[in-house]
């Protein structure tokens, strides 16, 4: 595009992006940050927010990783924190007024900063201590000191996109996506989504079935997936599946249920709903030992996993994929070796229970390099050094001697950069720019990712990446994202951290409320009703 001077254009209308009043990015993954800068550049829009003077080309962003927006603050005018359904409408209305009234950009942004859930970095001044940590976050011009995320209060009656743009080419998520509920009752301590999407709000099966059928009719899709953080936790799952299958089955529309837990009930449901080949089952125990699973509050019990595997093998399945993370807080070598034990036991269960052994069994173990995320109980933690991760990979590979088990590990480089960006501050912005300037903006794509490019860029900007990835923060350190709240209190997260170190579990929200604070932003409702 650069070579022939073609500016970035909108996919449907083919209008140049530069002609748009507002350019919005949805960001689910830190490695996409460089794409934002690259796209602005391709569009011919000035990269830095202070270089865009009028209201034209307002650049905004939202999505899970923008709960810490700091690395993008040089480039983005404002962030929508939390669920955008309501905030974006209010923002668009204000923008209309500003345009009609000829407001300056600063006037508009100041008013936008008063909309619930809108964070305007321009009005937050950051000062630093000598050791490089944040000294203070100072709100200016009278803006509120903490921006609390916005949520949809009445999820049951909230907007569901029944009429969508139907692509003429294959896209990712090329199907109807039916969102069952938001939030998660579980509270796995490493999981950012589990904390930032609280509290749990759901739609009833009647409303969901109606949305589903209308969306299928309007789109002509022959596939639908149920979406949520943990499908098994949807209270009316069985009823809903009956309703959906009544419509889908005669029409040959396939239904998929991701994010099921490893228990018998889920397995039966999956067999009933998915007419897939009996090949692969996927589980994510995340840690090898029960001790470590307790520490991270991942409530998968070995018995459940083994039971489900037994039923699966008896039913003719012959492949299981197991996902783990290495580098979790409190992890010891014993925990690492326990992964191999777990895999061996699954093989043993297959030997004992498989009906037909002639096809053999394939157990795949995958490990990824754990990235501590902000707004979780792990946000103060140092990430393992890459060399430590590699040592653990080697240890596990040496322990895993079973020929039926294949071991895959992810390279740690991307996860290291991700760890820097996730807990980065405003000083990271120039690094992002440097990466785009000297290489490719497509750092989220493994074929374009370049670790050396990142390391050179850190160096050129005088930034030590270990300061962000591999440093343990103290309890009273001002964190760069302290002006943002996802509803869950910081002291609750700290308490959870201490509970983790004691190896104790925290009950899920359905069993017992442990007072995280998210209920306070849910005005009219109660969590998980």
């Amino acid at each position: 595009m650069r070579k022939i001077g073609l500016p970035l254009y909108a996919l449907e209308s083919k209008d140049p992006v530069k002609d748009f009043d507002i350019v919005a990015f949805s960001l689910g993954y830190e490695m996409a940050y460089t794409s934002v800068i690259n796209m602005l550049d391709l569009a011919g829009i000035p990269l830095h927010r202070e270089d865009r003077e009028g209201l034209k080309n307002l650049v905004i962003a939202g999505g899970t990783c923008t709960y810490n927006s700091e690395p993008l603050c040089d480039f983005v005018d404002l962030f929508s924190i939390g669920e955008g359904e309501d905030a974006l409408c209010e923002l668009a209305e204000l923008y209309g007024k500003a345009k009609a009234g000829g407001w300056s950009k600063r006037e508009f942004l100041r008013k936008a900063a008063d909309i619930d859930g809108i964070y305007v970095p321009e009005f937050y001044d950051i000062s630093y201590n000598e050791d490089g940590t944040v000294r203070a976050i100072t709100p200016i011009d009278g803006v509120r000191p903490v921006v609390t995320k916005r949520i949809v209060q009445d999820f049951e009656h909230s907007y569901f996109p029944e009429k969508t743009i139907i692509p003429s080419t294959e896209i990712v998520h090329d199907r109807v996506v039916l969102e069952l509920f938001r939030g998660c009752i579980r509270g796995c301590r490493f999981c950012q989504a589990g904390y930032v999407y609280r509290p749990v709000r759901r739609r009833s099966s009647d409303v969901l079935a109606e949305h589903a059928i209308n969306a299928l009719k309007d789109s002509g899709y022959e596939e639908m997936t149920l979406s949520s953080l943990s499908t098994s936790d949807y209270k009316e799952l069985n009823v809903l599946c009956d309703k959906l299958l009544d419509y889908c089955e005669p029409r040959k529309i396939s239904l998929s249920l991701p994010s099921l837990r490893a228990d018998n009930f889920s397995f039966e449901l999956m067999e009933r709903v998915q007419r897939v080949r009996k090949s692969g089952l996927t589980f994510a125990p995340e840690a090898g030992s029960q001790r470590l699973r307790d520490a991270i509050n991942k409530n998968v019990r070995e018995e459940d996993l083994f039971n489900t595997c037994r039923i699966a093998f008896e039913g003719g399945w012959n492949a299981v994929k197991l996902y783990f993370m290495l580098g979790l807080p409190t992890e010891t070598d014993e925990d690492v070796k326990a992964i191999a034990d777990l895999a061996n036991q699954v093989v043993y269960i297959w030997k004992k229970h498989a009906k037909n052994k002639s096809r053999g069994v394939r157990i795949t173990v995958s490990t990824s390099f754990f990235v501590p995320k902000f707004l979780t109980p792990i946000q103060w933690e140092a990430q393992n050094a890459m060399s430590e991760y590699k040592r653990k990979v080697q240890l596990l590979a040496d322990t895993m001697k079973n020929r039926a088990v294949t071991y895959n590990w992810h390279d740690p480089e991307t996860s290291y950069i991700e760890a820097v960006l996730a807990r980065g501050d405003r000083r990271i912005g120039k690094v992002l720019e440097e990466v785009v300037k000297n290489g490719s903006g497509l750092q989220a794509w493994s074929e374009y990712f370049s670790f050396d490019l990142w390391m050179e860029s850190f160096k050129a900007c005088g930034i030590d990446p270990d300061f962000y990835a591999a440093r343990e923060r103290s309890k009273d350190e001002v964190l760069p994202w302290d002006m943002i709240s996802a509803g869950v209190r910081k002291d609750y997260l700290w308490r959870e951290r201490e509970t983790a170190y004691r190896g104790e579990i925290t009950p899920d929200c359905r069993k017992q409320c442990t007072g995280c604070g998210a209920n306070l932003i849910y005005k009219g409702g109660r969590c998980d009703e």
């Binding site: 294959e170 009719k217 002509g220």
Partner: protein, 218 residues
């Protein structure tokens, strides 16, 4: 059994064959027309395209056969699909087919070459000379690797004329199936035999389909 005649022009020429199948399937469903599925372990919608159109080619004579769960009238199919199809794909007519798709033998193609340096009579003459040969061999990628084919014996009624100041038009009747000729190879041949005449841009357009006796096929 139903057959539709449709065109695929403009930006829609970039929709690949696989995506076209999806698009058609969705268009039918969105129009409330349920398509019959194949029997068997992994049922899929039963649709047959006469001749897959290469990406980048436009056409005003594409045919697709399918079966509906419930019968629908011609008008219902045409207007229903046109309401839901993307810009550039238009159903011209729908009917119950009388002939089998395998009777299709020939295609009329129009190829427009654009020359940034201008379209001259001299260039047109040199192209005419090229296509007067009995043998024009192009190396073609096949399932088993590469093989040389003589594209000239798959072409008939080649006509070359100046289209406007920068474009030259080639029209020809080419073999449609068993074997077929991918029209992109015609451009490849020009580049190989007359490198100076390699066009800067090419557009391809399927104009008509015929049976072996050169009767229009529907």
């Amino acid at each position: 059994m139903n057959r539709i005649l449709f065109s695929k022009t403009g930006m829609a020429k970039y929709i690949s064959h696989l995506d076209l199948m999806r698009t058609m399937q969705r268009a039918l469903l969105r129009a409330g027309l349920e398509i019959k599925h194949t029997q068997g372990f992994n049922p899929h919608p039963h649709m047959v395209f006469a001749l897959p159109l290469p990406v980048g080619c436009e056409s005003c004579c594409e045919l697709m056969d399918f079966e509906l769960v419930k019968d629908a009238g011609e008008e219902e199919i045409v207007s229903g699909m046109n309401r839901t199809l993307p810009e550039g794909i238009e159903v011209i007519s729908a009917y119950v087919p009388e002939r089998k798709l395998k009777e299709i033998a020939k295609l009329e193609m129009e190829i427009i070459f654009t020359f940034d340096s201008g379209a001259t009579e001299e260039k047109a003459d040199r192209l005419r000379e090229l296509f007067e040969r009995n043998e024009i061999v192009v190396n073609k990628k096949t399932k088993k690797g590469f093989s040389d084919i003589n594209i000239r014996e798959l072409m008939d009624k080649v006509e070359i004329s100046i289209y406007n100041s920068s474009k030259i038009r080639l029209s020809a009747v080419i073999a449609a199936q068993n074997p077929s000729l991918n029209p992109l190879l015609i451009t490849t041949a020009i580049g190989n035999y007359e490198p100076e005449l390699a066009p800067d841009q090419v557009s391809y357009n399927r104009k008509e389909i015929y049976d072996n006796e050169m009767n229009i096929f529907r």
